[in-house]
Subunit: 338 residues, 2 copies
Amino acid sequence: MVKATIDDVAALAGVSMKTVSRVVNKEPNVRASTRDKVQAAIDELAYRPSQSARSLAANRSYVLGLLYDNPSASYVIDVQDGALASCRRAGYDLLIHPCKRDTVELLTEVLALVRQGRVDGLILTPPLSDMTELVQTLVSAGIPFVRLSPTEYKDACPYVQTNDQEAAYDMTCRLIELGHRRIGFIVGHPDHRAVTQRYTGYVAALKENDLVLDKSLVVQGYNSFDSGRECARELLSSATPPSAIFASNDDMAAGVIIEAHHRSITMPAELSVAGFDDTPVAHQIYPSLTTVRQPIAEMAAKAVDLLLKQLKGKSVQIPAAIMSCRILERESTGEAGR
Amino acid sequence: MVKATIDDVAALAGVSMKTVSRVVNKEPNVRASTRDKVQAAIDELAYRPSQSARSLAANRSYVLGLLYDNPSASYVIDVQDGALASCRRAGYDLLIHPCKRDTVELLTEVLALVRQGRVDGLILTPPLSDMTELVQTLVSAGIPFVRLSPTEYKDACPYVQTNDQEAAYDMTCRLIELGHRRIGFIVGHPDHRAVTQRYTGYVAALKENDLVLDKSLVVQGYNSFDSGRECARELLSSATPPSAIFASNDDMAAGVIIEAHHRSITMPAELSVAGFDDTPVAHQIYPSLTTVRQPIAEMAAKAVDLLLKQLKGKSVQIPAAIMSCRILERESTGEAGR
DNA sequence: AAACGGGCTGACAGCGCTGTCACTTTGTTT
DNA sequence: AAACAAAGTGACAGCGCTGTCAGCCCGTTT
């Protein structure tokens, strides 16, 4: 049995192939009876429109590209899941494209992706979404894209963000409420604005509660487990160690917890630890980690929706969306000074 | 500036478009001087062949599909990375296609993927690679695919496997060597043959060392963290608990460790714990987990290579590959009865 | 010197769809 | 009943490539 084409369907249904095309693409202005007739023919022949023929004729690929340079597997998977969900709903495919942020080829590589017509538009995830050069290039090349990032970009390009800063603020307030006065903070990788912004929330919460910002309690991490452990070493070696440590992501918080275990510090009695992201590790470690859950999949889905809208009509206004985080209190935090 | 086509390049280089096509596709039998001339024209016009036109004319998509139904993010990401690496080398794209194993639509969905010409071939990962119905369908539809699975399939279809069983055997022997006599085992999800086969290695090691297989030490898990914890509860509640527990994967082993913490059991002094997979969590928990590392990315890369070979020539022989695992001893295991 | 064969090149016909536009049918208005 | 608008349909020309096949130009053989 050879693959049926649109002509076969048209012949069987007794209509023109253009009408079949209309039915397949759910276009309006087809009489219901005609539609049924065509649909019956499609079913009978098990007709599947050829993706490449459609792409060539319509001049679009029905594929979106997902760009990332993120070592965190769970984050990436969540983004993929959310993006895929929206893509499927719209009959689009998703092409994943991990890439190295610092390579010279990055720009040409990404441009080629679009120029070859392999994707119709792009989703940028942090930290790529904050690379000025990349964003600039895409804008001036007129390539449709949506950024997944908590920071706005000066030009009017669409983005999806969460209230990161607010969540960091809330978490810090919660720690203060628990009686903590000396709260260590581990800053995220300087290139990841999405993560470093969380520091702002911490600072704001201290100020709001009339606590002084002690710079010796703020250390620079690099988002990895190992860097978190290193930072914990620094903070816990102090003569006056903090009673709580808030890390800008879960991997670093996990590093803090390990270091505390190795120093026989009991948690949360002697030390409270909080993270950010709610990665799988957060509830698989002991004590389970108090953290902030971001609706990553939903954000990605939203980003795809915005991109698809952009691809259809030319909505000139900036599409943007803000989603909410949620604090999850688990075993790693408790009252201070017990 | 409008996008250049193959005609533009041909005109500029003063050759036919067919010759340009030959240069672009690195076909033989083009004089070096002609090749250079064409290449210069390509560079000057920044010509990028249209993916969809190529696909339509050549009747293939230059895209491979990656099918999975696996909740483990790190496993999936590793597979993606390996597969992508090989794809890029060959100028192919990778389409990810997570799917639910038990849905009725699975088969039609996957067939549509191929029938619409969106992918040229498929990579199946566990547990999909062990679904007889799916494999059977693909075989009889003549769709090229490669299975990532430790089990062979009765028909001659290509696969990539690891020496899982052997590694489980080695790990069990190592525990015995450390003095453990009562070793608990947590079996993997019954539908995941890739995981359940590890039990065979455990049994073989006991036999080899003249230890009786005590069925009360073998409990059925379902691959998840929670099920691992549940199994640990069962094993540790016994009047004569095991001195070591070997879980069929890391998530379940992490569950065991948490349960032990909650019972104030010190590890490895009072209990040794071993896992399988070396997921990120393995070195982020306390104590860090002794486990088995599989070369997942390499396996996926190999699978893609086999698939591409199959796509080119019709090598009738079964292509297959076996890769090796490695035991990683960390903090969670130690001598028995200390 | 004729015959041969392999390297190299080009003409051309599609691949299977969609966009455009012209056309026919139907329903609505005066 | 004529005039008009809107809904419904089809003819056709590509979209930008690759496969096929014919033909040219060589050097090598008899």
